[in-house]
Structures are given as structure tokens and as C-alpha cells.
């Protein structure tokens, strides 16, 4: 399992109620089910991934986070997880609002466009950065709304969204990934 998932899992309270938005093949959900809380379910867009989750015995709904979060009542989960997909939504602002409506807390991770490698790439090569974490070219990237950790913090501050945790010091320059716990 990738390190990001261990870091996310550490933030979750035992036996809490969790929704994993864009749960992929269920790797993180499976780890959480076995170690932290059995009360977890996921939403996933890919049919293949949904079937992989079912194979693991996980509860998953095939659906699209941009459309299908509205069916959940306010504060119906203790934690809502969104791992590295915020930047790929057409309307990330709406998704973020929905996460904070249905979850008492939202754990959101973003690929950091402010990482020094990204900055250096653009500065020296003059082309859109391609890194391990951002492997796609400009023409085929799913990422529509790239931001930096600083951008995201500024955004949350403007909207009165509380950030309870930032993953590292000097994070904007040195973290490839930002992981945040958000609260309304």
C-alpha cells in the first residue's frame, strides 16, 4: 500500500463511520476495515474497480462524486476521504462543499504543484512539469485544476474552512503531496 494511505489511515478515529470518495480498487478501504473501522463504504467511478472492491468484500457504490454525493444526508459520516482527485473534478469547489456537508471531517489530499521539482521543471525546461506524481502530459492529464499547498490553504482560509493538520513544515516547497483534515 502506498505511504499516503498509511498517513491518511492514521488520521482516522477507531470505529468511526467513513466514506471513501473515489475509493479505487479498495486498497485503503480494506486496510481501514481490517485495522481501524468496519463502518466504511466507498464511491467509485470505474466499473472494474467497483468489481475489485466487491471481490474484497467491501461496500461500494458505482457513482460520480460530482453528482452522487447529494444523496447522503448532512453529517452522515465522521470522515470523508478524497485522495488526489480534487484537481480532476469539473467543479472542485462544489465537491469540497459536499464533502464538508456530508462529513463531520474531510480528509483531502492533493498533488502539490508547488513542489520544488515542479517549479524547477517549469523554470529550466519551460514545459509543463512531468514528475513521478504528475506523470501525464498537458494534453492527456486528468488534472483540470492543479493547485499548490499554499493555494489550497489560501482557499480554505477565504471560505472559513478549518485546516486541522498540514503534513510537513516547508510543505509547499518540499512535499509532493498535501494531506489535510478539513472541518467546516
Amino acid at each position: 500500500m502506498k505511504k499516503e494511505f498509511y498517513n491518511i489511515a492514521k488520521l482516522i478515529t477507531k470505529n468511526s463511520k467513513i466514506l471513501d470518495v473515489g475509493c479505487g480498487n479498495g486498497e485503503l478501504m480494506k486496510y481501514i476495515t481490517e485495522n481501524i473501522s468496519k463502518d466504511i463504504r466507498g464511491i467509485e467511478l470505474s466499473k472494474l474497480n467497483v468489481q475489485k472492491c466487491v471481490e474484497k468484500g467491501l461496500t461500494v457504490i458505482e457513482g460520480n462524486a460530482e453528482k452522487d454525493l447529494k444523496q447522503f444526508p448532512d453529517s452522515s459520516f465522521d470522515f470523508v476521504i478524497l485522495s488526489q482527485t480534487l484537481q480532476a473534478f469539473l467543479d472542485p469547489e462544489n465537491v469540497l462543499n459536499e464533502l464538508l456537508r456530508i462529513g463531520k471531517k474531510a480528509i483531502v489530499s492533493i498533488p502539490n504543484f508547488g513542489h520544488w521539482k515542479v517549479r524547477l521543471h517549469l523554470l529550466l525546461k519551460g514545459t509543463m512539469p512531468v514528475t513521478e506524481n504528475l506523470p501525464n502530459e498537458w494534453y492527456n492529464t486528468p488534472n483540470l485544476h492543479m493547485c499548490t499547498i499554499k493555494d489550497f490553504e489560501n482557499y480554505c482560509e477565504q471560505r472559513n474552512i478549518k485546516i486541522n493538520l498540514k503534513n510537513l513544515k516547508f510543505q509547499n516547497l518540499f512535499s509532493e503531496l498535501g494531506i489535510f483534515i478539513l472541518e467546516k
Binding site: R41, Q51, V54, K56, G57, V60
Partner: protein
């Protein structure tokens, strides 16, 4: 052993009050079982059949000598593995495979009920089948499962008996029959009733059969079970055993010949009045009605884990209607999974060899069973 002796029947003594107001008692409920009930009695699955199905879901149907309707999904080592699970399937009341139906003899007139048979509902069908739990002394089913009208019975069962099933798999169904669904059923009913042999429903006492009407009803319905793409791929404009058009009303096209064949084999195994009664029951199905239009309320008391399945090319019970069930369950925080299976085989996908579907059912059942056993 005569044909009818091959049908297992539970005589339900307990009175059953039907939605139409009438009460029936001492009525036959025909059923079949597959696999073995274990000592803990926690491996039982109740399978509900669709409009023209029956209790013979697996193996060879001893009456029609054809394959059981769910042979792809149900049997030893299959998705619903009868080496592991004890499967019960019953013929719905109103049906024509041994359960109480319109061709039974009315004790008052000593003639078949015909259209004097009471109008039944999905609720009545499910309440009748509940007697099987008592008969087999099963405290709680492992699963209730069914497609199409079988899926409607799954939803009704969980709503009526919220603590009697660990898991529920409604497939390719709806919680409320749409105007289009009702319209298509009415087309079939009118076709039967327009057949002069129908005789207001009393054809049996006159030794007549409205075969033409029933065949046309089946032909029309059969189209709704397939997808446009599936039909086009299989038949296109291919001609039936001829090189060119005949400029007549013969079955020039393969699709015409195929539909005529489907109609003709159907009348050998199905009763026209049963077709009227069962389609009526489907049209009356609206699980939200009792709950002021709020589907969530139908499931409020349930502790059942749901898994809803739909198919991409099913336009009869489309994904959007299956999703309504998921939305209603999520709105009250119930445990529900959902997947839309890719298939060009239309509504009939749940009856056919669609590996993604069969694997999904198998995985869901086996993983859920690990948790309860």
C-alpha cells in the same frame, strides 16, 4: 409419476389477506429447493422469479424439459453455489406452475377460476412465500435475490420483513412501475383479451386457448427484454432462409421468424390468465405508496445489507430507476452497494451468460457469507 407429481407443494393453511380485500387459505404454493440446508440454518437463499419464470430455476425443468431459467447463475459451483447454499424458489401465486392461480378449480363453481381469480399484488406474492421460512424453520435467510419482477419481490420482502434477510440483491428492477412499464404490460393484456378464444377469461371450460393473443403479448414483451444494439448485431436485416424479399407478409426477416418462434413456444408453457394477473401485479407495484412517496421509509426498520445491480443496455428497468433504490437507502444510512454491469444484452442480461454480472454476484455472496458464518 405424472407430470404434476414432480411439483413440490406446500399447502398454506394459514389465511392470507390479499391487498384486494379477499382472504385466501388452504392454497397450494409450489416450490423447489437446491443444495442442503446446514445445521445452523444460516445458508438459505430465497430466489424470486420474474414474470414468466417459475420454481425450476436450475437444472432441467421437469415439466417443460427445458433448462431452468437461471441455469447460468444458479447451481453447483455457479454464482449462487448450491454446494454451499440452500436455495428455495417458489412459483408466485397467480402463476401456472403449481401455485394457486387462475387455472385452479374454484370450489364454489367446480370450474377453473378464470377471471374470477382475485387480483394479486407483489405484496401478496411475497407474503405467501414467507410461509416457506416457517415451513423450513429458517429464522433468517442469508439472502433474498431476484431480477426484474423478482427484484421487486426482493424489495417488498425486505420492507415487509426487515429482520429476515442478512443480504438482498435486487437486480434490474424498480421500486415503482413506470408509465412506460404499465403501457407495455397493457399492450400484452389487450393482445390476449382481443383473442376471440380468450372468452372473457373462461377459455378453459370451453376447451379453448387464446394462443394467438398470448403469443403476440410474448413477442412484444420479448422486444423489451433486448437492446437495440443487441438485436441489430444478432439479426440486422438478415433474411430468413431466402435470397431476397418475397413481397408478402411471410417472415422475410430473421427477426420476424425469431419472434414468431418465441411466441409459439411460450404458449406451450404459459397460461394466458396468469399472464394477465402477474402483469397486473407488476403494474400495481409502487413500494413508496404506503409511505407517502418516500421510498426510504420502506426500508427504515431493515438491517439488511443491499447490493443493487443494473445493466447498461436495459431500457425496461434502466439504471436510473435502480439508482433510486440506492439513493433511498443512502438517505437513511443503510448499507448498500451498487454496480451497473456493461452488457449489450438488454434487460435479459441477468438471465444470460454475462461474466461480470455472475462474478459480482458470486463475490458479493461469498464475502458476505464469510462475515455471518
Amino acid at each position: 409419476m405424472s407430470e404434476k407429481d414432480k411439483i413440490k407443494t406446500l399447502l398454506v393453511k394459514k389465511p392470507l389477506k390479499l391487498d384486494c380485500g379477499q382472504t385466501i387459505s388452504d392454497f397450494p404454493l409450489a416450490y423447489e429447493t437446491y443444495g442442503k440446508l446446514n445445521d445452523k440454518k444460516n445458508n438459505a437463499i430465497l430466489v424470486f422469479h420474474a414474470l414468466t419464470g417459475d420454481q425450476f430455476a436450475s437444472g432441467i425443468n421437469p415439466i417443460t424439459k427445458k433448462d431452468g431459467w437461471w441455469n447460468y447463475a444458479l447451481g453447483p459451483d455457479k454464482a449462487i453455489d448450491t454446494n454451499k447454499y440452500f436455495v428455495i424458489a417458489a412459483n408466485v401465486i397467480g402463476g401456472c406452475m403449481g401455485s394457486f392461480g387462475p387455472s385452479d378449480i374454484n370450489p364454489e363453481t367446480k370450474k377453473p377460476f378464470g377471471t374470477n381469480f382475485p387480483v394479486i399484488t407483489i405484496n401478496d406474492m411475497v407474503n405467501a412465500q414467507y410461509n416457506l421460512l416457517e415451513y423450513f424453520k429458517i429464522e433468517k435467510l442469508f439472502c433474498v435475490i431476484g431480477g426484474s419482477m423478482g427484484g421487486m419481490q426482493v424489495l417488498q420482502f425486505v420492507s415487509n420483513f426487515p429482520d429476515k434477510a442478512h443480504t438482498a440483491i435486487p437486480i434490474a428492477c424498480t421500486a415503482s412501475h413506470s408509465a412506460q412499464n404499465i403501457a407495455l404490460n397493457e399492450l400484452g393484456r389487450q393482445s390476449i383479451m382481443a383473442d376471440r378464444n380468450w372468452q372473457d377469461g373462461f377459455y378453459e371450460e370451453q376447451n379453448k386457448q387464446p394462443d394467438k393473443g398470448l403469443a403476440v403479448a410474448r413477442m412484444a414483451a420479448h422486444i423489451t427484454y433486448l437492446s437495440k444494439a443487441g438485436l441489430q448485431e444478432k439479426f440486422g436485416r438478415k433474411l430468413q432462409e431466402r435470397d431476397d424479399l418475397k413481397f408478402s407478409f411471410d417472415a422475410d426477416f430473421q427477426i420476424e421468424s425469431y419472434l414468431r418462434y418465441q411466441g409459439s413456444v411460450f404458449v406451450d408453457r404459459f397460461d394466458a390468465n396468469s399472464y394477465l394477473y402477474i402483469t397486473r401485479a407488476m403494474d400495481y407495484f409502487d413500494l413508496t405508496k404506503k409511505f407517502g412517496g418516500n421510498l426510504s421509509k420502506a426500508f427504515e426498520k431493515s438491517d439488511t445489507k443491499f447490493f443493487v445491480i443494473s445493466f447498461t443496455s436495459d431500457w425496461l428497468y434502466p439504471t436510473s430507476e435502480n439508482r433510486e433504490i440506492v439513493i433511498a437507502l443512502n438517505a437513511i444510512g443503510k448499507n448498500v452497494g451498487f454496480v451497473e454491469i456493461t452488457s449489450d444484452k438488454g434487460h435479459d442480461s441477468f438471465l444470460l451468460n454475462v461474466p461480470d454480472f455472475l462474478n459480482t454476484v458470486k463475490n458479493f455472496l461469498n464475502k458476505s457469507y464469510e462475515k455471518i458464518s
